[in-house]
């Protein structure tokens, strides 16, 4: 039978049947596999695989509390716990923890502020799950004053530097177009460094968190999701702009996208700040706020860059600033109260995707009269942006 005849015969079959047949075959195969009692699978051979991820550490006087998630395929029964090589009494985990289940363990330990602790959980099979508390600090109670403190922290590292950066707007209004292209390239350079940074930190956090929930893939997933969502929103805004034939909106739209990208990035950073603050993983004694303000000022510059040739209402500027910086506050709140490394990794992934999308959007504005993207001033600008981000980063460590 020729292929043509075959195709002709198939054409007579209703299309829904053609759609359903593979589904039925899959069901049949699964059913047969189950009926045969899963040949080749059966009971696990060898010892169970026990994996626990510590998702959250809370310290209160005399108690170290760990929230653990079973990351492995088999149930885990925590039999004993020790802190710094001494068995300790603890509550929680009386029953086995099922796959992806969580349990909160309260270990009785008179810890001393600033000291390091190593918690080892001994499972029923004798395996150990070790978790380190690098520097013990009491976990603050999430009361009003704490939220106020977190808000202040977020404002310091998020909102204020961005607002300061926006003060460059009058200056960039006066510079010639070729310079402006350089400023846009500079913005791209800044964003690229932010993106790389978020990517690496997301990976680091994801490695700490539950692997069963995705691990490092969470960063990539977050990035792709954010990229697609923002591209969708961008296309939708494009359509609306065409309908309204609103001139000059491109710059504002770009600025909005930049602000969203930086905002998502700052949300991730806020999470990290809040959780670090809550778990006491702080490098104590560093006086870095001023350095940080300078460092993040460049984020403000990135937002206003696309709007250099437009009139912008101060209210709009304030909104963009809040959109970019405010998430640091929200992130700090979430990080200090509901933090898990996996969630933070996903958030940082969103930031990466948002930044990548913004970079793609900004790229056309850098093109010169001959349509080239990587012309010398653009390359210089990008490298300059990267150097600026890197350099002010060094300032922070000073």
């Amino acid at each position: 039978m020729s292929a043509l005849a075959q195709a002709g015969r198939l054409r007579r079959v209703p299309s829904w049947v053609l759609g359903v047949v593979p589904l039925l075959l899959v069901a049949l195969a699964v059913g047969a596999f189950a009926a045969l009692d899963g040949p080749g699978l059966g009971d696990r051979k060898g010892p169970p695989i026990e994996e626990l991820a510590v998702e959250r550490t809370t310290l209160e006087p005399g108690v170290i509390e760990l929230t653990v998630r079973n990351d492995g395929p088999d149930p885990v029964h925590i039999a004993q716990a020790s802190v710094n090589d001494a068995f300790v009494a603890f509550e929680g985990g009386e029953r086995a923890i099922g796959r992806l289940g969580t349990e909160t363990l309260r270990l009785r330990q008179p810890w001393v502020e600033g000291e390091a602790y190593e918690v080892a959980l001994l499972t029923s099979t004798g395996a150990t799950i070790v978790h380190e508390v690098p520097a013990a600090v009491q976990t603050p109670d999430p009361d009003v004053s704490f939220f106020a403190l977190m808000a202040l922290l977020g404002v310091y590292v998020g909102v204020i530097p961005i607002a300061l950066g926006m003060l460059w707007l009058p200056w960039i209004r006066r510079i010639p177009p070729s310079w402006l292209r350089g400023v846009m390239a500079l913005t791209v350079g800044l964003l690229v460094v932010l993106g790389i940074d978020a990517w690496l930190e997301g990976g680091e956090l994801a490695a700490e968190g539950s692997q069963a929930l995705g691990g490092t893939a969470l960063v990539a997933l977050g990035a792709v999701v954010a990229y697609l969502l923002l591209s969708g929103v961008g296309a939708w805004l494009d359509d609306r702009r065409r309908q309204a034939a609103e001139d000059g909106a491109t710059g504002q739209r770009l600025a909005l996208l930049v602000a969203i990208g930086i905002g998502l990035h700052n949300l991730g950073e806020g999470l990290a700040i809040g959780s670090a603050y809550a778990t006491g993983a702080l490098a104590l004694g560093a006086a870095l706020v001023v350095g940080f303000a300078l460092h993040n000022t460049t984020e403000g510059l990135a937002i206003i860059g696309p709007m250099a040739r437009q009139r912008v209402a101060p209210r709009r500027l304030a909104l963009l600033g809040l959109l970019a910086g405010g998430p640091a506050v929200v992130g700090a709140w979430i990080g200090a109260t509901l933090y898990t490394p996996s969630a933070a990794a996903l958030m940082l992934g969103f930031g990466v995707g948002a930044i990548a999308q913004v970079v793609v959007q900004i790229a056309p504005t850098i093109r010169d009269d001959r349509g080239r993207l990587l012309h010398p001033p653009a390359v210089a600008g990008m490298l300059g942006g990267m150097a600026l981000m890197f350099g002010t980063g060094l300032l922070v460590t000073a």
Binding site: F87, Q138, Y277
Partner: protein, 364 residues
């Protein structure tokens, strides 16, 4: 430096900003960070916590006791369980003392809820305490019921073929195989026996060892005699011990102290078979003891409250308790102590043929 990321840098600013918040009167949380965190009223880990059981203010295992019946041995019974074997008298008048030791693989509960795939002699860890008199002929039939090759290597003086090592005599005894070790009971003292199949550390650490006592021909003074085998277990196979004990079950004598009688002689046959750690030690509270290294001399080497032993070292400690009450004993490596090698002597009194314990501590 790997960890020096932007996130960390941001985090490091937090205390400074926190101070700023305090200065502005907006955040009290930062103020709580000054000084030391208030600790338990009780300076120790367990005990005082509401709802968390402790043992006399000291940490112990959660979940009480292990299932000694399920394990097939009880550290309290091991303490005073001396296996004299079966004896026959040869026409020459010499006594032949015989035992049968069977190696096996069995799961043992080492701490409440923690199970360990152990290798045992006669189903227990430590294996039976073999006890003989100086000059007797000893005959130990070894049956390997384990899935792995094993031997018994005795400390003492014997022919090369009886050494229980690969390549000499019957060498390694394959699963299902058997052999007979025969040698003279000499020298008098407290010794040990253990499997000598490579990898040695694994074969010992999994439980194949026991105490081997040769009483001097003239005997020793009557005493309440105890066997304490200092050991540990590497439950996660990282060649470091997670659990430490005497006679295998950590804190066993914390939960139920070793009862002794005031002013009566207590003799401890102390053996160190700890693997993966270089040394172990024995320390008793509120008392001193005469220490006879290896038990070969009748003169004590030292009057002390602490002795240190390398792997395979052993000796006899003799003491009398003059005060009533509970006296702790433990390794003087604090880590071993808190990971299980810790117990109590409870000094009791004989009253009208009855032993009365749980007496209040006396004050001088």
């Amino acid at each position: 430096m790997v960890g020096l990321t932007r996130r960390r840098l941001i985090a490091s600013t937090a205390p400074v900003v926190g101070l700023g918040a305090v200065a502005l009167g907006q955040g009290s949380a930062g103020a709580q960070h000054a000084g030391h965190a208030p600790a338990d009223a009780n300076g120790h880990g367990g005990g005082s916590g509401a709802g968390i059981a402790g043992h006399g203010g000291h940490a112990a295992f959660r979940g009480g006791d292990v299932d000694h019946e399920g394990n097939g041995f009880d550290p309290h019974e091991v303490l005073r369980d001396f296996d004299w074997g079966r004896t026959r008298r040869l026409p020459s008048g010499r006594v032949v003392r015989e035992w049968t030791l069977i190696a096996g693989d069995r799961e043992v509960e080492l701490a409440p809820g923690v199970r360990f795939a152990a290798w045992t002699y006669n189903g227990r860890i430590p294996g039976p305490t073999l006890r003989a008199r100086e000059g007797e002929l000893l005959r130990i039939t070894f049956v390997n019921g384990s899935a792995h090759p094993h031997t018994i290597h005795f400390h003492g003086i014997h022919p090369a073929a009886m050494d229980g090592v690969a390549g000499l005599g019957d060498g390694e005894i394959a699963p299902g195989g058997r052999t007979v070790y025969e040698f003279d009971a000499t020298p008098a003292g407290v010794h040990l026996y253990h499997c000598h199949v490579r990898p040695l550390a694994e074969h010992i650490a999994k439980g194949l060892y026991g105490t081997f006592i040769v009483d001097p021909a003239e005997g020793r003074e009557d005493a309440d005699e105890l066997v304490m085998v200092m050991n540990g277990f590497d439950t996660n196979f990282d060649r470091a011990n997670e659990l430490y004990a005497v006679n295998s079950i950590g804190f066993a004598y914390m939960d139920r102290p070793v009862q002794v009688v005031r002013d009566e002689l207590v003799r401890i046959y102390l053996v160190n078979v700890l693997e993966y750690d270089l040394i172990n030690s024995f320390h008793v509270h509120g008392n001193f003891f005469d220490w006879y290294p290896t038990g070969t001399s009748r003169r004590p080497a030292e009057h002390t409250d602490t002795v240190m032993l390398c792997q395979g070292q052993r000796g006899i400690a003799e003491m009398r308790f003059g005060h009533l009450g509970r006296f702790m004993f433990h390794a003087h490596q604090s880590e071993f102590t808190e990971l299980g090698w810790q117990g109590f002597f409870e000094v009791c009194e004989r009253r009208g043929g009855r032993l009365v314990c749980d007496l209040p501590e006396g004050r001088p």
